[in-house]
């Protein structure tokens, strides 16, 4: 497995960690038929085969309404990647599977977080959001909701820095990914 050892950071909450320099996650971009129950079939396969999923994101594809794309971040320490792909491929509704190694992919994730803020924290949190290229998307009397999008490790950082504040609610989307483009083309 090829990997850029710098791309992942150990974080709390059971998300990917490096062990011996190699990321233990892999990204599968799975094209599925847009049919009832497809997500249950994919999720059910992972649970009954004992494969761990870190995150999963689903959306219809732009190209063809018959298909959706599921981006799955897989823990490759629970099962060899090959085995995960082969078992997934057996699902009749799975059309194709692209394997994206973290080094060869662009990965993005989005977080929405609501923070309880007093008068002093308010500007600090807004400033912090600014540093991370985020936006304040909702403002309450003593709360702010911030949105940050970016590389998952950036979201991890942001989440880490928020720890000193009173986080009321936090929701991450799970990552989506596409292959990195080759500059020569």
């Amino acid at each position: 497995m090829t990997a850029d050892p710098g791309t992942l950071r150990a974080v709390r909450g059971g998300r990917p960690m490096r062990s011996g320099g190699a990321p233990r996650h892999h990204i599968l971009s799975v094209l599925v038929e847009n049919k009832a129950g497809v997500l249950a079939r994919v999720a059910g396969l992972f649970s009954r085969r004992g494969f761990n999923i870190y995150s999963l994101a689903v959306a219809p594809t732009d190209e063809d309404e018959r298909f959706s794309r599921i981006t799955i971040v897989v823990d490759v320490e629970t099962a060899p990647l090959e085995q995960v792909i082969m078992q997934l491929d057996k699902l009749v509704n799975v059309v194709s599977i692209d394997e994206l190694s973290p080094a060869e992919a662009v990965e993005r994730e989005l977080v929405l977080v609501t923070v309880a803020v007093g008068p002093t924290e308010r500007s600090q949190v807004i400033q912090l959001a600014g540093v991370f290229g985020g936006d304040v998307v909702s403002v309450g009397g003593d709360r702010l909701t911030i949105m940050v999008a970016g590389r998952p490790e950036k979201i991890d950082d942001f989440e880490g820095l928020l720890e000193q504040y009173n986080v009321v609610e936090l929701q991450r989307t799970g990552r989506v990914a596409l292959p990195k483009l080759d500059r020569r083309h």
Binding site: G37, R66, K90, L91, V92, V95
Partner: protein, 575 residues
């Protein structure tokens, strides 16, 4: 042509060449039962839907054609969950059509509603809930295609009652492209480069073993296998699912590997330097402790399911493909080698194997000759049976004795529940096998415990005049569990005693329209078998009162290494 959904369903089954189906009606499937009256398809009315499923499996295993079962919604559908799971484990092509509540009621906990596509998602190759009447022919055709191609397996088609009643314009999908299966592309042909590598590995091995699994039968590759064995002189083991794929009477046949396999089959694999796995899956009942399994062996693994390659044991050469095609490719690759030998001199290996065979043949002791030995019943059934008799087994000690002591000389003569180990399989599966092969004698070798789980299907057999023969090896115990309690739980017998005469199997058989026969002493066995074999117009049940204390040997205790195989106590001194 305008048809109702129900008529379209039956017509689709006819288009698929279905000649028989097994089922039991109810509210949600009622519309589909009406056109059955006018159909060419024979419907066999079962007494319990589990029976329908196992009958369809027995039919499929004996004929190679997919088995079809039909049930109503809710409890009808859940009653056939066990056969679906069983067919999934043993890769049997099984098509189940279930009724479903009307679409507006789905999700409302309507009467007899059950999310059966949800329930069976993990135990079917695929399933469909039909929501548009126009989909019926396409989905039925797709269901048969998926069930029978690639690695075969069970599928379920769930049909809501309102859809059955709606009108549709009949059509039939002409090609595979019309089936709307963009994600389904089973492989069949092996990669020639890998086949070449396999031929090279075979040419350099000194202790090769052909490890033959059920995939060889699914691929109808018995002849190709025979050619490969004859060409190479390599010893052959046939797993529980592959009994019959290679003749037991062939000098290269070592018998069955696994927990209760032949000593020589187990040990030859263990000492092998090359396992040529054809359509087997390194099941834990074969490998014992995987870490100590065949430690010196390189592995060639041929399987139509690419996910099997490396699932348990990493192959040196893994070939995704149909066993028949890959074996034929392999033989061609060997031909291309010209005069170069296709194998090493295997004489030293055979010398070693012959020694094991001489020292540790299958063995049981006749003791004082007072009790009926179950192994002897199997031998006498075997010796009195016409050629190509189909043998069906339940699950337990009797199953292992049947697989050990029968001599399987042709494919599709052994029907049993391997991967799931489903007690109650034998009676209905034997009925299905007999329906599919009415020309053959069908003997079920069943346990007293198993028999009690599905015996009611003998009513079906009597009513439909399906003359199967059932041999109950009545040891008055859940014998296999008793054996484990004796060996591993200090003879503390917990909930395994059944009684030899409650129920009275002869009276029960007679009540179900069968002939009932009892054999109480070794002298009774021969005449009882002779009488059973002479009856051909009704099902027969023979209650053999066998020795309750017999154990199955050899045995590799669960989780132990195959090196620690336990032989019969009479042979223990020789180890």
């Amino acid at each position: 042509m305008k048809l109702t959904g129900a008529q379209a369903l039956i017509k689709s089954l006819e288009m698929q060449g279905v000649d028989v189906m097994f089922g039991l009606p109810g509210g949600a499937i009622l519309p589909v039962y009406d056109p059955i009256i006018d159909s060419s398809i024979r419907h066999i009315l079962v007494r319990h839907e589990q029976g329908a499923g196992h009958m369809a499996e027995g039919y499929a295993m004996a004929t190679g054609r997919p088995g079809v079962a039909m049930v109503t919604s809710g409890p009808g559908a859940t009653n056939i969950v066990t056969p679906l799971a069983n067919a999934y484990m043993d890769s049997t092509p099984l098509i189940v059509v279930s009724g479903q509540v009307a679409t507006p009621s789905i999700g409302t906990d309507a009467f007899q509603e059950c999310d059966i596509t949800g329930v069976t998602m993990g135990i079917t190759k695929h399933n469909w809930l039909i929501k548009d009447v126009a989909d019926i022919p396409r989905v039925v055709a797709a269901a048969f295609h998926v069930a029978t191609t690639g690695r075969p397996g069970p599928v379920l088609v769930d049909l809501p009652k309102d859809i059955s009643n709606q009108p549709m314009e009949w059509y039939w999908p002409e090609t595979i492209d019309d089936l709307d299966l963009p994600g389904y592309h089973p492989v069949t042909l092996g990669d020639p480069v890998l086949v070449g590598q396999a031929a090279e590995l075979i040419a350099s091995a000194h202790r090769p073993v052909l490890y033959v699994g059920g995939g060889v039968l699914k691929a109808r590759a018995a002849e190709a296998l025979r050619a490969l064995a004859d060409r190479t002189g390599i010893p052959v083991v046939t797993t529980l699912m592959a009994r019959g794929a290679f003749p037991d009477s062939h000098p290269q046949a070592l018998g069955m590997p696994g927990m209760h396999g032949h000593y020589t089959a187990v040990t030859a694999m263990q000492r092998s330097d090359l396992l040529i796995n054809l359509g087997a899956r390194f099941d834990d009942r074969v490998t014992g402790n995987v870490r100590t399994f065949a430690p010196e062996a390189k592995v060639i693994h041929v399987d139509i399911d690419p996910a099997e390659l490396g699932k348990v044991r990493m192959p040196d050469v893994g070939i995704a493909g149909d066993c028949r095609q890959v074996i034929e490719e392999l033989l061609l690759a060997m031909d291309a080698h010209g005069d170069a030998p296709v194998v090493q001199d295997l004489e030293p290996w055979w010398h070693q194997i012959r020694q094991w065979q001489e020292r540790f043949p299958l063995h049981y002791s006749d003791d004082d000759g007072r009790a009926i030995k179950p192994q002897s019943v199997v031998e006498q059934l075997r010796d009195a049976a016409p050629p190509d008799t189909i043998v069906v087994a339940g699950v337990g000690q009797h199953q292992m004795w049947a697989s050990q002591f029968w001599t399987f000389d042709s494919p599709y003569t052994w029907v049993n529940s391997g991967g799931a180990g489903t007690m109650g399989f034998a009676v209905p599966a034997s009925i299905g096998a007999k329906v599919g092969r009415p020309d053959r004698t069908v003997w079920a070798i069943d346990g007293d415990g198993c028999f009690q789980m599905t015996a009611q299907e003998l009513v079906t057999a009597s009513a439909e005049q399906i003359p199967v023969k059932i041999a109950i090896l009545n040891n008055a115990y859940l014998g296999m569990v008793r054996q484990w309690q004796e060996m591993f739980y200090e003879e503390r017998y917990s909930e395994v005693y059944l009684s030899p005469d409650l129920p009275d199997y002869v009276k029960w058989a007679e009540a179900m329209g069968c002939v009932g026969i009892r054999a109480e002493t070794p002298e009774d066995v021969g005449p009882a078998i002779e009488k059973a074999n002479s009856i051909d117009d009704r099902p027969v049940v023979v209650d053999f009162r066998t020795d309750a204390f017999e154990k199955v040997f050899p045995m590799v205790p669960a989780g132990a290494s195959n090196d620690d195989i336990v032989v019969h106590p009479d042979q223990a001194a020789q180890r």
